[in-house]
Symmetry: C2
Subunit: 349 residues, 2 copies
Amino acid sequence: MNITIKTIAQRAGVSTASVSKALNGYPDIGKGTRERILKISDQLGYTPNALARYLARQKGHAIGLLIPDISTPIYPEIFKGIDSEARRLGFSLLLCDTNGKKDFERSYVRTLMENRARGIIIAPVDNEIDHILNVTRGRIPLIFIGGKVNDSMDNYVSNDNVMGSRLAVEHLVSLGHRHIRMICDNYRTKTKRDRVAGFKAAMESNGLEADASISDGLHPEGMEYGFHETLRLIDTDSMPTAICASSDMVALGVMKAAALRGLRIPEDFSLIGYDDIQFASLPTVNLTTVAQPKFEIGILAVRLLIRAIEEGNSATRHRKIIEPTLVIRNTCTSPNTERHFPPAQGGSP
Amino acid sequence: MNITIKTIAQRAGVSTASVSKALNGYPDIGKGTRERILKISDQLGYTPNALARYLARQKGHAIGLLIPDISTPIYPEIFKGIDSEARRLGFSLLLCDTNGKKDFERSYVRTLMENRARGIIIAPVDNEIDHILNVTRGRIPLIFIGGKVNDSMDNYVSNDNVMGSRLAVEHLVSLGHRHIRMICDNYRTKTKRDRVAGFKAAMESNGLEADASISDGLHPEGMEYGFHETLRLIDTDSMPTAICASSDMVALGVMKAAALRGLRIPEDFSLIGYDDIQFASLPTVNLTTVAQPKFEIGILAVRLLIRAIEEGNSATRHRKIIEPTLVIRNTCTSPNTERHFPPAQGGSP
DNA sequence: GTGAAAGCGCTAACAG
DNA sequence: CTGTTAGCGCTTTCAC
């Protein structure tokens, strides 16, 4: 038999109500009885039943978090931000790894509803989120984050991708680069479109021509795209003096291609990424990049969500766009006007 | 007002018992009524209250997972294994990031108990786990995983660290190395001790002298240790032809030191890691290493846990030790007998 | 087949 | 201060 407040009540010769009060630190209870109850309670090793409590209180304290894949760089850090802020504010977090599948998203959202989550923070796997809205039906607030965020979503927090690209360009320009190319692995999300737009705008405002390799969407994304596109640029003798990758993963692909062709970074060309994933800071990578404040994004998402929860059903939009920052490491330098391809000394075999 | 089975019952002109039966697919209910109930149920957009259900059933379906830091390589992959297997078996997972703190561990375990988790998988932050056992008091089963596992823990799953080191040594020896050194960043866990023991045993059985740099525990671990120790070896002119790092993170530190001193890997010396974290496969890292089957470890942990849950309170120990495998990438090659330090061509500036 | 009734463990008025 | 009394929403015998 489980020990419940009833057990304690009997042992203490009081009512369950008193036990409840004592355990929850209510003021209206005699100091003597309280202490007696507390003592008995832990003599018995009593463990309150949170489920029963929530049922009675009619109010859960859990919020959900949907992420496409926790093993993808950037998400663990966002998770940490969300986790710490949620716990700090007295909420508990239910993490759901959606494996990049809409089916999973739908089913997890349902489960969260059934468990009476108060709200959900979602890094959707797709631009389209009707399958989610169909199950929440506006009953609990949703805050969107991540690379698929777009303006069709009511509430979200993201970083200023236009500004981020500008930071990258300005850095390169200040180093003396004039021939800069962006390599963007997809053009189907607002995030990537903004990065491209920011790049172009910044180039133009510097009186420079904005070259860009933009995936037609038929090729694999991320590292793969960076790799193949860079190979193409090198082999076609159309390398710029600097490359802006649309993400750190793309940048990694660029590095791989450079190594394969014996080009050194930053001696032969400069490279700048976007996101500042963990990989970027590794000694063998050392990528200069535009950093999204991931931890902070998590914190803000929680705050927006909780505000929305407290407001109840209001039509207010909750949005927050935060500023990225430039993290300078070792992949950018001034362009070497004397360089030639292939360079005198090779890199990896 | 929330819609509950009572609402549905009224609308359908039946009892709540019947609604419950219909919704849960019990056989003892008329086909007609069932369908009527089901129809009304989703007309109303009914969402069952999982909390109430568990209360009534007196049986949760949640299992907990304690991890020191989800942003530390290796854990996301283990998580994925656990997550997929748990869901497959009908359990839901509650992830708790303990931030490497015992306090957090204790408090999360308590929370899990309160939420009536059926069992917990724990990657403890320390060898010592009394603070955990004190709160679970044997009421639910615990399975331990991760680098702190040791034989004082009743149930666990780990990889065979002795064997892993042997794999590394055999590989190096088969390449022709005879002067191999292990660099181990701590000697306080069974995991690391086994890796060292495996290394020594394998060296000896090959008739080789087993050199090892083992941290005195006063220095930082991981990359830091690998970095400083390698620097010391180089500067002291005592570099072996190959290094076995006690973890991939240590290996990364070794690489950093090598780059700083202008040594190339594997041209100037071979390097092999342990764990096969994501970083290891990056193009700029390409580390040959001993891989722990992380996803599989997760799966096994869940199976052991659920078996333990089903067995109820039994004194049976649940342990599983699985075999690591060698992943050959590009940091090992045959020793170059003509090499000299420093080499003719430098690496990074 | 169907429903009445008794909980599951806890909270929350409301009396006393 | 303390106890009584109703639930919270759902499940589960056990009669009918």
